[in-house]
Amino acid sequence: MKTLRLSLRDAPTVEAELALTPRSVVGLSTEEVSDLKVMHGNRETGLVDFFEISGETADQAGDQRIEITGDLAGFKSVGRGMEGGEIVVSGDAGLYAGAEMRGGSLVVDGDVSNWCGAEKAGGKIVVKGGAGAYLGGAYRGSRSGMTSGSIRVDGSVGDECGAWMRGGSIRVRGDAGRMLGIHMDGGSIHVEGDAGRYAGGAMTGGRVIVDGAVDPMATFRRGRDEDVEDEVYQRFLGDSAEGGDGEIMTPRRG
């Protein structure tokens, strides 16, 4: 594993598009990496305009690790579409972090914004802070969110977590916003905290586990209880407005 290090020197004044993945730096010299294009709003700039760059590049994406230090909230698309290797961000990341990812791993120390892991088809995302809306979800008009791989968020997540999700797994240590697992058709979401209103709406398949409070809608009916991780969970099946093959599981209390 070879490590390339980027240290944020100048934050962008408006959002910038960081189209940087392990594959995009493979085999490049440090100078070539410095010149990689970054769209800063409508201006074409280079990576070097924002970052101090050091370290080495690998011959294959799978052997490439990229460590980025600094607050990347102003950068969109961190690790978007990555196919292998590792990206580690010590700080926040902006919109679309790890979206469309197909392999490798992305670790963000801070928070991520909306559409983190959207339409992702592999790989692993770990977010140590919280996440915005549409975590593992789908882009506008698309009916296929995340299809495989995993996402872990240590904080809380926004609305529509796992929207149109087809496969893979999401684990949220904190709470989830409204419409958790909306239109979900496969895969699993495990929320250790509470879930907001309309959890499982329009769900057609897959499983949502909520350890904290959740209030399944009237279009969910009781199913058989089940043991999950050594605890007895109640099962709710729905959304019956859409055929009703999804599951919401929540610990039986009292």
Binding site: E15, E17, M39, L95, Y198, A202, M217, A218
Partner: protein, 441 residues
Amino acid sequence: MTICLVSSVSVAGERTGAEVVKNVTCPYCGLLCDDIDVYLEDGEISRIKRGCGLSNAKFVSEADRIESPAVREGEELHEVSYGEAIERAAEVLREAKRPDCYGWSSCSVEAQGLGIELMKEARGSIGSTSAVCHLPSVLAMQDCGAPKATLEQVRNRADVVIYWGSNPVEAHPRHFERVTRRADGYFVKGKDRYIAVVDVRETLSAKISDEFVKVEPGGDYEALQAMRSMLQGNEIEADEVGGVPVETLGELLGRMKDADFACIFWGLGVTMSGAKHRNVEALTSLAKELNDYGRCVSVPMRGHFNVAGFGQVCTWKTGFPGFVDFTGDEINYAPGENTSVDLLRRGGSDAMLLVGSDPAAHFPLRAVKRLREVPVVQVDPHPNATTRFADVVIPSALVGIEAEGTAYRMDTVPIRLKKVVDPPEGVRTDERIIRDVMGAL
């Protein structure tokens, strides 16, 4: 052969010295009534016929106008020549890395189209005020679709009409008259229609309808999903869903199921509360599924008279209904990312062109705070809260009264807007202003 292809027929009015322009389209709400008679005296509008209170206010009353182009120096706006204001506007766009443009719901499609071209040239983003009204309807359409219909279809056939989260009596005052309760259609008389209102409070519209169903705030989604489930023959175990007794939902569903032709008109109560676009999705899905029994369609009650037009022209020009971003090489469509309010909140834009809008009055505090920090160019007929800190202000003509063009009705039927009087001296149309900014860019 005497059919007149070109409109604008002026005939002698009833009063001497007065002139009347017939069949003028009202540029106020999304119903776009095109049967207004406008009476002119000495080149000024003296009164109108057939309009509602809202249109009367727009045609006849003297709202404040921006009198001259102006540019801010320090705390004050200073009058400048039109050319100078255009230059300054172009400069703002030129210098920005991420200019954003917002407004457009009270402009013609022609101006809106030019605005899209301008922002393409300026490599920025553009969206309409639908962001604060019916954007959720668009998002719902993109996930599921909808059974749509023109108002003609509803007027002639609908025997069951549901106003869900919409209050026509106050927001679209002639809707009852022109489309439902007092409109006699070919297959059904107005008075024979069953009209129900579903809302969180008993509005004026609810009071004069056959039925009022009270839903709790945020309860629409659950109620609608429950109705969809019941339609499929499922039993709902709860007594109440979304604050509505299940029995009541069942009765409402029964009405719609037994209808020859039902129509659901939905409004801001659906789009701007609770599950927002998922509410709309549930509503239009229900409408669609009802077509297994009789006919059922759905129509959004669009507010501003041409907010629908922006969605149309942006869709045909870019492939997407607004909230498009031209900063990269390719068009990027992303409401939630490119919506002006989100951009401002994230500090994503560094200049704003506002055409016919007042974000200072309607955006959340954090977005307004950022708006005050970035250069703002405002094109508007009227001064508003945003004018107080705009950096360049350019007065524009009132389209539909002082300028002609096209607008799209709530059912996306395009209607011609007429020009009945001249704009105040020195005031240009949106089209002209945008063209000039583009030229100066």
